[in-house]
Symmetry: C2
Subunit: 414 residues, 2 copies
C-alpha cells in the first residue's frame, strides 16, 4: 500500500504536539483513515538536539516543496508573512496544506482556498477556531442544508478565564490578568487576546464559511474587556447575567452585522456557563435551530487533535477538493451593515448626585427599563437595562443622559 | 452537469421534513455541494392527495430499487423489519442509504456498513443520534486522531423534559409525564423513552463508532426514570446535583462498560444545565480532552437537517466509501465488563425509626460519606453519597444496611 508522506513546517508548541500525537496514535489513525501515512520531514530553523525525530529535520523549506512524495503539509508557523508565502508555494504545487493559523485564514482565506481548488488540492483549517473543538467541518458539512442565521461564540480562552476569575473570585480585571499570565494562559503582551483581535479572526473564519463571503477583520466592530470592572460584573450577576466576550455575526433584515465585544449573557443561555479557558460556539440554522459546540479552545494537545484530523482528511482527499469548504472573496463590505444600526438591549451604569430625578429622566428617555439592584449599592449609582432599540438611538439618548449624569458603562446584551 | 437523483422511502414526520427542507434550501445545498441534485421518487403506502410532490409518489419500492438513476435513498420507515429488508436490497445494488433509524443501526449497523463497503456505496446515519446535532461525523472524522476514553450523553429529549419539569416545577414524575404527552413530547405508550431503550440504541451507535466494535443493545445495562421521585430530585438539588438520564460508555482498565440510567450530574458539569427537550453529548478523547455537542435532539426540522447533510455527503462520495465510518461486528461481549465491576459513587436514601444509630452504621460500612441535608426533611430519613467503590461492594453494603433500614433509592453519580 502506498504511504502518504506528510511534512510539518514549524516545530513550536502546536507543530511538536502534532508530530507527537501522530506517532502516539498512528495505528488508530491509519486504521480509521484506511491509509498508511508517515511524517517525512519537519522544517524549523532551530536545532532540536536529541529529538527522536532528528533524521526528519530540515532548515530548508525547499526540501519539502521540491519533494514529490510529500502530498500534505501542516503549516504551523503562524503569522502572515512566511506562512503566507510558503502556503501559496505549496498549494501552487498541488500540495494540500492544513493549518491552525487563524490570522492567515482570516486575512487570506478566500485566496488560498481558491488557489487550492485550482490546483486540485485542499486548504484545511479546523484547528484555527476553537482549538480541538470540531467546528469548521460540522459547520460546512453537517449543517450544509441550513441557512445559517447567527453564530455567537466564546472564542478566546484567555479572556474567558479572566472574566470567570472576576465573577467567581471577585477579583479586579488587573488581578485576573496577572493570574492568567502567571498560569501561562495570557502572554506578557496580552493585547491580541484582551482587545478581542484573536476572537475577531476566528469570527471572520466562521462568518465567511456561514455566509459565503469573506468577512475581513476590518469588517468587524471589535472591542475587548479592558474596561470591564468588578462593579459591572456584580451588578449584572444580580440580574441573572454573566459578562462574556462574545463574537457575534448574524444576518439581519438590513444585512450582516459582526461584532466582538463584551456582552451580558442570560443564565438561561448555555454560553453563560462556559467558564475558565473553555470555548463554545453556538450556531443557529433555519432547520436545525441552535446547536452548541464546546471544549478546550487552545492548548498543545487539543489543537494537535484538530490538525491531525485535517491531515487525515487531506490524505483521503488527495485528488478531490472538498467543495463545501469555500467562500467568495469580497471586494467591498456592502453586504455588511454598521453594527449600530442593529437593534440591541444594553446595560448602562450611571452616577449622579440626584438619583431620584435621574430615574425619572431615564424612564422618560427609554420608556420602560429594568433597574438592576445591587448588594451594597453606592447611593449615587443606578444601573439599568434598556429595551431593544437601534443602537444609534440608544447612543443619542445616552448623550442626552450624560448632560445630567456620568454614564460610566454601556455593555450590550446577547 | 449530471443531476444526482435521490429517493425518499417513508413520508412520515422525518421523511416529509426531509423533502420540504431539500426544496426549501435547494439552491444553497447545490452550491455547497458543488452538485445538482433532485428527489426523483417518494415511496409510501399511504395517499397524500394535494401534495405538491404528487408526481413523485409511488407505493412500489421496486420503482426505486430498479431505477438506475437513483444513487442515494433516504430510509425514513423506522423499525427493523421492512427498513432492514429495503436497506439491504438497496446497498446490495450499490445505492447509498441514509437514515435516522437508530433501532436498525444499533441492531444491524456492522452488517449494513460492511454490505455498503463491499458494494462501493455508503450507509450514513447522522440523524440517528441527537437529531440535528452534528455528532456522528465529528466523532469519526474530527476526532479521528483521538483514542476515545468516554462518552456521556443526554440522548433522549422526552426523559430530559420530564426531569427538567420535576426539578424546576416541583411536580411528580406522573404529572411531568402527563405534561410531556399533552405537548407531544411523549407518546401515549412512552416506555421506549422513559425506560431508556431509545437512549440505549443511540449509545450503542456512538460506542460502536468510538471503540470500533459493535455494541449491541443487550450489552448495555439499561434502566429508566420511572422510579425517580420528587424527594430524590430535591435532596440532590440541595447537594449541587441534577438528576439526568445518562447514556455512558467508557473504557476502564478492566474493559468497556456501558450503561443507560439516571445519574446525579454535578452542576459544574455542562451536562447538568442541559434542560427541556435538548440533548447533549460529551466525548472525551486522549488528545482533545472533553468536548460537548448540544442541540435539539429530535423534531421534524432538526432531524431533517441531519438527513439532508447525509444525502449531500452520499452524493459527493458516490464512488468512494467513507473509510472512517465503520466498526467490526462482535460475536461475543468479552470486551465488555459487567457494569457492577466499575467503581462508582452512589446516592442512597434510607428510612429508619432510629436515624442516629443508622448514621453510625452507614459510616461503619462506607467509611466517610457525604450526608445530604434537605429542607423540611422527614425525621425518619437520611440521604448520603458514598465514596467511589466497586458497585458490587456497594450492593453488599446496602444489603447489610437493609437489615436495619429501608433502602428507598440508589442513584449512581456521573
Amino acid at each position: 500500500m502506498k504511504v502518504s508522506q506528510i511534512a510539518v513546517i514549524g516545530f513550536g508548541v502546536v507543530g511538536s504536539g502534532t508530530v507527537e500525537l501522530f506517532y502516539k496514535n498512528k495505528d488508530l489513525i491509519e486504521k480509521r483513515s484506511g491509509r498508511k501515512m508517515d511524517i517525512k520531514r519537519i522544517c524549523d530553523l532551530r536545532d532540536f538536539p536529541g529529538s527522536p525525530f532528528a533524521e526528519k529535520f530540515t532548515k530548508n523549506f525547499n526540501d519539502i516543496l521540491n519533494d514529490p512524495e510529500i502530498t500534505v503539509a501542516a503549516e504551523m508557523i503562524g503569522g502572515k508573512t512566511l506562512a503566507y508565502e510558503y502556503t501559496k508555494k505549496l498549494l501552487s504545487r498541488g500540495v494540500s496544506v492544513v493549518t491552525s493559523n487563524k490570522e492567515l485564514v482570516a486575512c487570506h482565506g478566500a485566496e488560498l482556498i481558491k488557489l487550492a481548488k485550482s490546483n486540485g488540492c485542499n486548504y484545511f483549517f479546523e484547528a484555527s477556531v476553537g482549538g480541538g473543538i470540531p467546528i469548521i467541518r460540522p459547520l460546512h458539512q453537517c449543517l450544509a442544508a441550513n441557512r445559517i442565521e447567527r453564530i455567537a461564540g466564546i472564542l478566546n480562552g484567555t479572556t474567558n478565564y479572566i472574566l470567570t476569575k472576576m465573577i467567581y473570585d471577585q477579583v479586579s480585571f488587573e488581578q485576573a490578568l496577572a493570574d492568567a499570565q502567571r498560569l501561562g494562559y495570557a502572554e506578557s503582551d496580552p493585547s491580541a487576546d484582551i482587545d478581542g483581535e484573536d476572537a475577531c479572526r476566528k469570527l471572520c473564519i466562521l462568518g465567511s464559511l456561514a455566509f459565503g463571503k469573506h468577512i475581513y477583520p476590518e469588517y468587524v466592530h471589535c472591542s475587548g474587556i479592558r474596561n470591564i470592572t468588578l462593579d459591572d460584573v456584580e451588578y449584572v450577576a444580580n440580574a441573572g447575567y454573566a459578562v462574556k466576550l462574545i463574537g457575534l455575526i448574524e444576518k439581519t433584515e438590513k444585512g450582516i452585522v459582526a461584532t466582538v465585544c463584551p456582552r451580558l449573557v442570560p443564565i438561561s443561555n448555555p454560553l453563560s456557563g462556559v467558564n475558565d479557558v473553555y470555548n463554545a460556539i453556538m450556531i443557529r440554522g433555519d432547520s436545525v435551530g441552535d446547536t452548541l459546540f464546546y471544549g478546550r479552545g487552545a492548548g498543545k494537545q487539543a489543537t494537535a487533535s484538530a490538525v491531525v484530523a485535517d491531515i487525515i482528511d487531506a490524505v483521503k482527499h488527495e485528488n478531490a477538493d472538498i467543495a463545501s469548504l469555500t467562500w467568495e472573496d469580497s471586494t467591498d463590505r456592502s453586504f455588511m451593515v454598521p453594527y449600530k444600526s442593529a437593534d440591541v438591549r444594553v446595560y448602562v451604569r450611571v452616577r449622579s448626585d440626584d438619583v431620584d430625578s435621574l430615574k425619572g429622566l431615564i424612564t422618560a428617555l427609554f420608556g420602560y427599563v429594568d433597574f438592576i439592584p445591587r448588594k451594597m449599592r453606592t447611593e449615587r449609582e443606578l444601573a439599568f437595562i434598556t429595551p431593544s432599540i437601534e443602537e444609534y438611538q440608544i447612543d443619542k439618548k445616552l448623550a442626552l443622559l450624560s448632560e445630567h449624569a456620568d454614564v460610566m458603562r454601556k455593555i450590550r446584551l446577547l
